[in-house]
Subunit: 428 residues, 2 copies
């Protein structure tokens, strides 16, 4: 796909990351050149990518996107990646199905159109492939040779797979006592997988130390020193939803909250599409979904607080179990500004929602998908979500990765191999 | 997608399954009207779909396909489905990635272009979604209301999911002592899942009895009375490979063998594309891949036999473990006619090949994918497969479904959360 590359105008950097012009502090607006940094040197606020989209013509851009590949690189002109990104070896995630969920809509009483954005269709079956793909391009641009992260699950596999395909070494750090299945899913790609004697906090602390040490030289930690690039991958969820709706904004979108980064980037993506003229400028509401056992943001939302008080996670939705979500305050702001809400559901409701989605639409979601579907149901019942409006629910992962959560699901009947025995079972 | 529907000309039937004109016996050529039957009433040979493609103009057809949806229904004009199939609720499988596997090619010494057709990207993560989607349309056409099958794994989930989305009841039969993980994957979609006290043969025998019994009235068994329709789904693998190569035939294609049906339909699909003028008519070779522990077809191939002697399966590649493959003789014929071969690999080689594919391309394959990659390597070493030619290897399923096979894969190191401990581990 030939795209217009806008040179970095303010940074003076020679790094080619397409339309990415600089890093900009989300708190104080201070700009710094593109580089493997994540905190503002003035105020320690989080850095994010600032773009120069000024050269784009709306209809030319739309045509370029529509003629692009069936993956996230159709949006290369809007991402911090070089224009020829699609020619480089990577897993090409994205362009997952937006499923019109009429059966689920019937059960939930939604009449305005209900859609499930099913990110289990990504190469390693979670939305993490989207964000890792951006971090990989940044790692290439900065000359890193090892791709790394701290992880308790989906991210480890996504990094291992992407690094294998791209010819990077990978070294991923996890708590040493993870379930064997998760270890296999991460180790199969042949990179180094290091178990740390400690919990996830210890793993994170160790990674931060390693970044400042000579031993970590040449290492890109996708969710630490490459975080500003990594996080942008979630914008592609917003782009795809709108394009798949026929270049329309949804009225309502339900997004899971772990660190909160995904929700803030979905909002950023929708805002960009409006500014670029690719969709009509009209109101939309963003809803955040948490599990009750790790609900620091929904607790703050309901209490009317601006500050998020950390919690100790205890939920089956482990991919959302971040007790001190970095982007929590931004999530609160977006939910309130758009007229959305943040809600949570119990583990039992998560399991019910996983089964509901599977039974109605044939989609087997990870626990995080159970959280968004469960919260959608709860928000409809409470009246916070309008069932007459177009609503999109994100499923960010695959049920095969969290089989334990629904381990109670089993046989309807056990019979002898005879017709009499079958008739006795009462199934006909 | 608007397509030309060719009315059934020979059957007198009122069933609308697009270009499907009749069922035709693969042995004696006897034609019967489209219906839920699978064996010839003259000679008991297997029935397959006979099409009327006579009205198609090559370039119009190509344009229709290219403008079609990003799933198997882009090929609706070549499948036994109604023209409006894409508007009906189903899982929309297919159009999975054809990955240019340059890293794997480097390891195997392939210089002519090596591609992995990665069917783990399907909705329930195996190629079974392709075949079930065809059976579902046949079930709709014949007025069935329950979708059923006998299964030991992938098929149960594919049927359960497709039935849920399409609003069919499902009732799937499995051996009662299947692993809990496989039971969960099949049961999650909410259909009836019946455990039969006995082995897979007992399950199959029971299903055949049920078809002839009033208790089975209105039931479509995807792999029994709907088998002629079901089997056609594998043609879409051939279509997609050729279109994704830029409407070119591959020189060599490596296909796994369970019943052998998939390999025969890949050949049928390639032949159809040649006859329709969508690809150039040139020679191609089809290779069959089996696990040594269930290698009735490769044993017959190597011995020069036309008859396949049944074996008792004993391999980790359970999705290929059919000891008495119905299409074995047809597979032998195709491998010999095209200049291909049938080869097998040990379970150890299967595991090595799974790891090789994951390490080089970031693709985590099911054991069946380990079989095809392992056989590809063996065929290159023996000289049967030409490394200077364009070669496509099928991966028909997802590694998450056969984690047990690679359960030995684990941590590179376990360390304390300190830089000293990390340095001692010798990873930097």
């Amino acid at each position: 796909m030939a795209v217009q590359t806008v040179a970095s105008s303010t940074s003076g950097s020679t790094v080619d990351l397409g339309p990415a012009a600089a890093l900009s502090c989300r708190e104080c607006g201070h700009r710094v050149p593109l580089g493997p940094v994540f905190a503002c040197d003035k105020c320690f606020g989080p850095l994010e990518i600032a773009y120069d989209f000024s050269a784009y013509d709306t209809e030319e851009l739309r045509k370029k996107i529509e003629a692009g590949p069936a993956n996230i690189w159709r949006y290369a002109p809007l991402l911090p990646v070089p224009a020829d990104v699609a020619d480089k070896p990577n897993l090409n995630p994205g362009w997952t199905k937006l499923v019109k969920a009429d059966n689920l809509a019937g059960e939930l009483g939604v009449t305005g159109g209900l859609y499930v954005k099913d990110d289990s269709g990504n190469p390693t079956h979670s939305f993490k492939d989207r964000v890792v793909a951006q971090a990989l391009e940044a790692a290439r641009a900065f000359g890193f040779t090892t791709l790394s992260c701290s992880s308790t699950g989906n991210l480890a596999g996504a990094v291992g797979a992407a690094a294998a395909r791209a010819g990077f070494r990978s070294c991923v750090f996890i708590p040493h006592d993870l379930e064997q299945g998760k270890v296999v899913m991460a180790a199969i790609y042949g990179g180094d997988l290091v178990g740390i004697e400690g919990n996830y906090d210890d793993v994170n602390r160790f990674c931060s130390e390693l970044i400042g040490d000579p031993a970590g030289e040449g290492w890109g930690f996708v969710n630490v020193n490459l975080r500003p690039y990594y996080a942008e991958g979630s914008k592609t969820l917003a782009y795809e939803v709108c394009e798949q709706l026929g270049w329309r904004l949804p009225d309502q979108i339900v997004v899971p909250i772990a660190s909160g980064s995904q929700l803030t980037k979905v909002d950023k993506g929708l805002q960009e599409l409006i500014k670029l003229g690719l969709v009509e400028d009209k109101p939309y509401k963003i809803f955040g979904a948490q599990a009750e056992g790790c609900s620091p943001v929904s607790t703050a939302f309901k209490a009317g607080h601006d500050v998020v008080r950390p919690q100790k996670p205890n939920t089956i939705a482990k991919s959302l179990a971040i007790g001190n979500p970095a982007d929590g305050p931004y999530v609160l702001d977006i939910a309130r500004r758009t007229g959305g809400a943040v809600e949570d559901v119990t583990d039992e409701q998560v399991v019910d929602a996983i089964k509901l989605l599977a039974r109605t639409e044939g989609i087997f979601a990870e626990t995080a998908g159970g959280v968004t579907v469960g919260v959608t149901r709860k928000l409809i019942e409470s009246g916070a979500l309008d069932p007459t409006k177009t609503t999109v629910v994100l499923n960010t992962g695959d049920g095969l990765k969290t089989l334990d959560a629904v381990a109670g699901t089993g046989l309807t009947a056990t019979i002898r191999p005879t017709l009499d025995s079958f008739r006795e079972a009462g199934l006909v």
